[in-house]
């Protein structure tokens, strides 16, 4: 008796539930479209006077070298504080970033950790070099959860990345923070100089999902294949 009633009640409220769910989906979609519409459109200039919390995603070897070349010409007072994230298996890149930050730090650094302009973190990797695409599904899920936690903690206003697989979960999460309305960020992606004829998986995804505000390529041929990309020379 009770079971039947319960079942009947569920059936009765189904249209209501459906309506709630549907309007929720529509609202989310509208918000996603709104965010996508504003992606790639320059920020209003008065907002840009204050320094911006910057997330810098490091990759191994060549990626880090390229990133450091770009950082060298960015104004550290504007991109401040800076949060560096590298893959958990890659201590070299984080070390290089630390060395770089030490080299630009004023001599008498205060003891207050809160004022520190540079922070260094590690993230689980979605895919190791040489790992098969099938097992990468599981590791990607772990990486996404970790990325959610880190992006929520950092709440970046600027995301700068240049190609390692780790940047996809972090960019997706930054995008989600925009959709939810927690923090608006601008995502800049510089395709690795190693990519001459074909975008990397990260570049491909960010380009086609239109998640990057600006996507730079370092070879003119890639620009001809991807007209929304920017080509303004090489970093290396």
């Amino acid at each position: 008796m009770e079971r039947r009633n319960g079942g009947g009640g569920g059936f009765c409220s189904f249209p209501l539930l459906f309506a709630v769910a549907a309007s929720f989906v529509v609202a989310v979609l509208a918000r996603v479209l709104y965010v996508l519409y504003h992606t790639g459109r320059p920020l209003r200039s008065k907002k840009g006077v204050r320094p911006l919390r910057t997330l810098i995603i490091l990759g191994s070897g060549g990626h880090t070298a390229e990133m450091l070349n770009l950082l060298a010409v960015l104004d550290k007072d504007k991109f401040n504080p800076r949060f560096y994230i590298s893959a958990i298996t890659d201590s070299m890149s984080l070390q290089k970033a630390e060395v770089y930050e030490e080299s630009i730090a004023p001599q008498n650094t205060g003891t207050g950790d809160e004022m520190n302009p540079a922070h260094f973190m590690k993230i689980y990797r979605s895919r190791e070099v040489g790992q098969s695409y099938i097992t990468s599904v599981g590791t990607t899920i772990v990486a996404i959860i970790h990325a959610l936690w880190l992006t929520f903690k950092i709440r970046p206003q600027v995301v700068i990345c240049n190609g390692p697989g780790t940047c996809i979960p972090l960019c997706v999460c930054s995008f989600l923070l925009k959709v939810v309305g927690i923090r608006w960020s601008s995502i800049f992606y510089v395709e690795s100089i190693a990519r001459v004829k074909k975008l990397s998986l990260s570049g491909f995804l960010l380009y086609h999902l239109r998640m990057a505000d600006q996507l730079f390529v370092q070879w003119p041929y890639l620009k001809t294949k991807h007209p929304r990309a920017l080509y303004v020379g090489r970093l290396m």
Binding site: L43, G48, G61, G62, A65, G130, S132, A194, K198, M236
Partner: protein, 178 residues
């Protein structure tokens, strides 16, 4: 590597680097008679191999009897000093070592690792080889590449400039252009 003490002969060093992982096919190719002989013929005296996590151990030579002296190590925090002391660099196709070498103006032979799953690495090496900034080879054809390469034909690489990218980013965020 303890080689610096015996500075009695003029050294002409070939430095081989496999990067942060391993590249046994390259180390094995360096261990072949053809490659060693070719290096000797070209007047190189020392071969130093950064072999990474590889399992193939090259045979060492002390450099007597006019043979090329061979030494190896696994990793070093920076390879800058090795690149600087080398007269020829043979490298894996990673962009890090490629540009570090080109910036120092050292002649470079890039050996593409064909065992990598996502083999985009040859793109960069092929492009830079087409522009005559380096020579590009595969492990099995390294001996021939060393035999036929003409170091005089190399064109110096002019480094890129990150400032245009920075300008775009600044403009987008509403920062004043400097």
């Amino acid at each position: 590597m303890g080689e610096d003490q015996k500075g009695k002969r003029l050294k002409r060093i070939v430095f081989v680097t496999v990067g942060t992982t391993s590249f046994d096919a390259l180390v094995r190719a360096m261990d072949t008679q053809a490659v060693r002989e070719e290096l000797r013929r070209r007047g190189y005296t020392d071969l130093l191999i950064q072999m990474g996590r590889g399992s193939y151990i090259p045979s060492k030579f002390s450099g007597e009897d006019g043979l090329v002296a061979v030494d190896y190590f696994t990793f070093s925090p920076t390879i800058a000093d090795y690149l600087l002391s080398a007269e020829l660099v043979i490298s894996h196709a990673g962009s890090g070592s490629i540009f570090e070498t080109l910036r120092l103006g050292k002649p470079l032979v890039v050996v593409v690792n064909e065992d990598l799953m996502d083999n985009h690495q040859s793109e960069l090496a092929d492009e830079l080889a087409a522009r005559k900034h380096l020579f590009c080879s595969r492990p099995q054809s390294l001996g021939q590449a060393l035999r036929t390469m003409d170091l005089e034909a190399l064109v110096p690489y002019s480094p890129g400039d990150a400032r245009p990218v920075a300008t775009h980013i600044n403009k987008f965020l509403g920062f004043q252009a400097d």
